[in-house]
Symmetry: C2
Subunit: 245 residues, 2 copies
Amino acid sequence: MNIAPPVIDAGPCQHCGVRKNAICRVLDVHRELPEMAKSVRHRHYAAGQVIMSDQDPVSFLGTVLEGTVKLEKMMGDGRKQILGLLFPSDFLGRAHARQSPYYAIALEPVKLCYAEAASFHRLLETFPKLETSLFERTLEALDHSREWMMLLGRKTARERVASFLCLLAERQAGPVTDDKPASDGPLVCRIPLTRGDIAEFLGLTMETVSRQIGELKAAGLIVPESTRQVTIPSLSALREAAEKA
Amino acid sequence: MNIAPPVIDAGPCQHCGVRKNAICRVLDVHRELPEMAKSVRHRHYAAGQVIMSDQDPVSFLGTVLEGTVKLEKMMGDGRKQILGLLFPSDFLGRAHARQSPYYAIALEPVKLCYAEAASFHRLLETFPKLETSLFERTLEALDHSREWMMLLGRKTARERVASFLCLLAERQAGPVTDDKPASDGPLVCRIPLTRGDIAEFLGLTMETVSRQIGELKAAGLIVPESTRQVTIPSLSALREAAEKA
DNA sequence: CGACATGTTGAACCTCATCAACCGACGTGG
DNA sequence: CCACGTCGGTTGATGAGGTTCAACATGTCG
């Protein structure tokens, strides 16, 4: 006859919506997670708000809980390039550096789970598993960044826009698991960026982006619901247009 | 009165020329380095030889001792993009992955210090310092990759070629230290890439690269010694032309 | 309802790609 | 020894893809 174990409060992190995909997923729910919970806080940002500037020191790091963040770099004369997008469960911040090498700006209202820089690095030392987890995330970010170098260096405007829509659609569908296989069926895709932001991400102008979206629509590869939302009848057909390497 | 400590052979790694800049610099010379030395071997590659293919599993990882390596990605229709260059002391290989996401190809004769994938990952577990060191290298690689995204997305052909020459010159000058400050004086710059390779790195064609080098020469920013070597009268002037962000 | 930001469309222009000829260095074989 | 082919590089002519500039449409919010 079993005796029910005593119910232990594992702290606020236990029921966090993004935990199964964030770097903290490797921590033990009962022994380690509550310990980490002591160091983190939540914070909200309005759309358009600067979360980190390339001027400021890195004073905190953390995980995106809700909303979308753009990482942006700017040249002296004002030319800009978006280096990456962060969605819920993604990690935000440059570890092991005094200064952020780029801007982080909220595209929508953002909710962030963060720790002060000093205590964050202490957490990394306390939980080597956490550092390994962040290391693996960093390796993935490097892969994505290099994938985008291919896009910026070699793809046509058409391919770039198609690639971008594929990226959004795949992130919004969530990671592929055994019980949720990759479907090719029609799926809705929210676009949390302005045409100008898309252009900055793709190394184009917003006029070119606008025209290319028009052509993808004419080709039947996408069905615009509004300027900020499209339906993708067949993801694989769109992927084709993106010339996935 | 002191007694001289017994001389202990610290193994072959102790006098390695790149150790002070490679990931293994964090290991203790007497306790840890000899342990690691047991797992590594050296290997040579001829110019043009494929070191890793994006088809093959990652069977080994290591550090470049001599020569230059290009990391390259290829699209289905043959379009290519160089994702990065590796110089002596740089780390080669994608940790924590079954398959390499790109090609690694020797541009010159290359000497590599490597470990089998399984034993390499065992080393990372044995020496957490080593993992942290590799993690920091990965973060730097990510910074460089994003820097290059700016170049590929927003810079003109002229700026790209100038940026490339600055990159080479700075790497060949070695890291800036207190006793070796960054000088602006004339410096020679070896170019271990063909015009075609440079083009692949910069997202251009080799014709455009050739013309831009010609214009930089006409502008007095570089003085060609041969097709594979230039003198840079003033690095800061060249940096100016690169529109460094 | 009007104002301002966001997005679309049109026309002219420009940078860079494409295609092609040519050059020089090198290595090979007759 | 020299003709020949190959490879890397340069130079020229032409054109396309994307930018730029400008007008106009849409949509959102006070």
